[in-house]
Symmetry: C2
Subunit: 208 residues, 2 copies
Amino acid sequence: MPKTPETSTQKTRIQNQNESLILDAALDVFSTYGYRGTTVDQIAVKCGLSKPNLLYYFRRKEDIYTAVLQRTLALWLEPLQALNPDNDPIEELTRYIKAKLDLTFARPEASKLFANEILHGATHVAPFLKGPLKDLVATKADVIRSWVQAGQIRPVEPAHLIFAIWSVTQHYADFSVQVEAVLGGKPSAEALKTTVCDILLRGLKITR
Amino acid sequence: MPKTPETSTQKTRIQNQNESLILDAALDVFSTYGYRGTTVDQIAVKCGLSKPNLLYYFRRKEDIYTAVLQRTLALWLEPLQALNPDNDPIEELTRYIKAKLDLTFARPEASKLFANEILHGATHVAPFLKGPLKDLVATKADVIRSWVQAGQIRPVEPAHLIFAIWSVTQHYADFSVQVEAVLGGKPSAEALKTTVCDILLRGLKITR
DNA sequence: ACGACTCTTGACCATTTGATCAAGAATTAA
DNA sequence: TTAATTCTTGATCAAATGGTCAAGAGTCGT
């Protein structure tokens, strides 16, 4: 009986190589055209493989989609996980926002893919949202709450501060077309970091 | 020669009625499934007309899409247009944010439709972004700049403050699935207004 | 070199879907 | 009522697309 890649125990050199090729191409195409707007053939052309060959590595189009989505989720949790309760809150939040913006500029396709998935009901990542993401936000909300109680920052709804950081930073990836149209060009990544931190964090600083 | 609705000078009672039915249904479906994810038949079923009948009123699927998109654009400009330079800046910005959030909760489909359009390259609204939207933002950025120069609020990059307001408010429509998954339920619209205004505007207030 | 397994693809299929059209039903103005 | 116009739809088409398959090409351990 011929083994299919999915059921094989050990991955071949060629398997690793081609799956990687496919997922890279798929990220590009899915993030640009959405799930339904993407054809398997588009991905195939982009990575230089034939359509049946793609479907040899991933049985269904949906399998490609979930695989590429899965690969980006870890990337999403990472920066928030690093929020350290023992450091200065403004410094920590500044670092977090800057890390998020770095991600936004380095991997805008990942942001767009995720945005599209949520926008259309998150049918493939609902467990992720209700599980790991919810838990992580709860944990980090506690961190922010502890900063408030220690008088290190002014009172704020922790979860909504996190939402605000997410939405503003990802806005520059997801809505880049609009941002560039309105500004008349790409904003500088470095200037943006200062500007965004300013808008989001200045209200948290204790003034005396 | 039979007249097609598009070329007729005066619209019939039935024309007005059915076009409205179609566009209402189309907004729902397009905002949920995206452009490619939507079939003409889905819209037809939703509004109780036959598919060929839809295509009698709108020749192509794309015409339905642009029509429903067009109808929402005015809605988008409205609240920002009301920003009045002669009033107190914090009050004005608070009013703007609350109006935006009201829109978000009243018409989340409109927000999602727009988000989806931008996310996928804004191919149908590029002229809108580079024209009316850009102009309006420029005008209102001047208003904000004048507040800064008058010492009424602390210095801020006006365009990016506007972006921040857009992204945060629309986040609660576009990413509602994520917000609700993380919070474990729908946030209260009224509480949200206070929270969001707080996060976005507290940093602008002059402290003495 | 050989045999077993893995990889690749041209040809093909079934379904979906945007769009057309002719013919009939409903509406409207006279 | 009548005739012109507008509205409606069943039937149908062509193209796009997800997915299959058998047969051949390539790879690898021995």
